[in-house]
Amino acid sequence: MPLPPQLRKISDTIWELPVTFKEGMLVPARIIAPESLLGGMEAGVFDQAANVACLPGIINYSYCMPDGHWGYGFPIGGVAAFDPDTGVISPGGIGFDINCGMRLCLTSLTEEEVRPRIRELVDELFFAIPTGVGCTGFVRCSRSTFRRVIEHGSRWCLENGLALPDDLEMTEEGGCFEGADAGACSDKAIERGYDQIGTLGSGNHYCEIQVARPENIFDEATARAFGITVPNQIVIMFHCGSRGFGHQVATDYLQSFLKVMTVKYGIRLNDRELACAPFRSPEGQAYFAAMKCAANMGFANRQVILHRIREVFSRVFHRSPEDLGMRMVYDVSHNTAKLERHLIDGVERQLLVHRKGATRSLGPGMPGLPECYRKTGQPVIIGGSMETGSYLLAGLKSAAPTFYTTAHGSGRTMSRHQAKKMFQGRTLLKEMEQRGIHVRTASYGGLAEEAGLAYKNIDAVAQATEEAGLSRRIVKLEPIGNIKG
């Protein structure tokens, strides 16, 4: 892919588009990637990173992470911070799947113990966790109960026997965004999502049984601190978000912002998908309160799925989840906007940080970390394709320039249709089986779209985040079982 001629190399992993690249840019755009990954980025990535740089109140730079690819509004991998008093909030900077995120759970089991039961485990997980188009969950709750869920997130799960106290401690924001207001969410959003708690969805959402092999451990001491202590230890990783509820919240406010953005606030943009409102405006504040509800649904959704996973493992191995060591490593979102404190030109300021397909990455000793990770930094979970594996990394203080943010996944290099032309779902399933990865899917077509070759090389992405000082690799996790929507 030809790179924009204006793109300037700042360092081996930082590339900058100056404000002259596009009319209206208020700050430069910076792409964080080695040359090898940069070449694979679509032209749309540069265009969208530049569009973000046009948003009022943006601070320092519009960033794109090493796994960046062409999205809508922000690029996927887009990061931008705004002055809350002069800046905006944009649903297009968060994504429709608000609080889409990753959760990683330990077990004390080894590959040798799990291999003989892998089919049974994957099949049981597939039945226990609803997947695919329009699926509904096992938690039967009324619309009014759902309103409590979205205001309290994982806390509601704890109160209802679906979480352990430690789960909340190991979840970003303790599993609940404060200030969530169900009154800011439409009846339609509630209607769309109230019976979807505990569902995976489809697309690139998955639940995977993975193994931490000794040869894939980059830092043994930190791996131990994260709970990876046994050779060939089995862990469970899953990826999903706030389901139809979050999608509807984003859609509602996208439409609401379009009505007021120019007429009421005089903001003119060259991409309607970046529709925004001043953060302090009534519309901006209403979206922020509704977005927090969707974020809480994301946490509750992943918490209920974890509860189901524990039940399945317990049933299959006839041992309690405690006995199986099924503790959470961490749960971290990659689609949010949050008010955070950052140093800008030596002065600590409150900023509204948008992360769309980008993961918070707190370094050692930083506020907001669970006590047990104070020395190591935040666990960062980067999900790869279902064929190639995923990474557990640790946050770094050197990620300060990107507002303590790193990559979130491999990033697609091939369109879904192209992938379907190249790969056959059933053939892929058989090939993966031969390589020791047992898969159950709700859709063979959907499976083909998620083939490993449709994604960037996860090893290159993880290494790039380390070279750029955003996060450091602790262990690569390889799949042996996978359920897909």
Binding site: E42, G44, H69, W70, G71, Y72, G73, I76, G95, F96, D97, G132, V133, G134, T136, K188, E191, R192, G193, Q196, G201, S202, G203, N204, R243, G244, H247, Q248, A250, T251, L254, Q255, L258, D271, R272, E273, A275, R412, T413, M414, S415, R416, H417, Q418, A442, S443, G445, G446, E449, G485
Partner: protein, 143 residues
């Protein structure tokens, strides 16, 4: 119902282009493309339930946006996959009114050969335009 999926404008998502002689047929084709995105065998979605969707908007393109969004809403809220059988668009005092007769049935994962869950209609490159005697739309869906 002419539509085709586009590969070059949405790497991670699903994009399609539709074209028809009338606005009404264009809306129907877009609904068909949306259904085909979610189900490999839309012809197997039986017309067991039917009802009418009424919407209005000042902008024709945002009327299409709302219409497709409504179909996505029913997919989650009622687990319904829907065909748009008949669409009527009228214009009064600068407002476009849509009356769509839709029909379909509850999702049956095995029979409908489900593909991918559509999260939302995006405004990325979203377009409805009339040129060379045809109404054309470009739609990118977040999946």
């Amino acid at each position: 119902m002419p539509y085709r999926f586009l590969e070059e404008i949405a790497t991670a998502d699903v994009a399609f282009e539709a074209w028809e002689e009338t606005r009404e047929e264009l809306f129907t084709s877009c609904a068909a493309a949306l259904l085909r995105t979610m189900a490999a065998a839309p012809e197997l979605v039986a017309r067991q339930q039917e009802f009418t969707i009424d919407l209005e908007h000042e902008e024709l393109d945002l009327l299409l946006f709302s219409f497709l969004q409504e179909l996505i809403f029913y997919k989650d809220a009622r687990q319904l996959l829907l065909h748009a059988d008949r669409v009527q668009i009228t214009e009064r005092s600068g407002i476009h009114h849509l009356e769509a007769h839709v029909s379909g049935e509850r999702i049956s994962p095995g029979r409908h050969r489900l593909l991918v869950d559509v999260k939302a209609v995006t405004l990325h490159r979203f377009q409805v335009a009339f040129s060379d005697g045809l109404w054309r739309a470009v739609v990118v869906l977040d999946v």
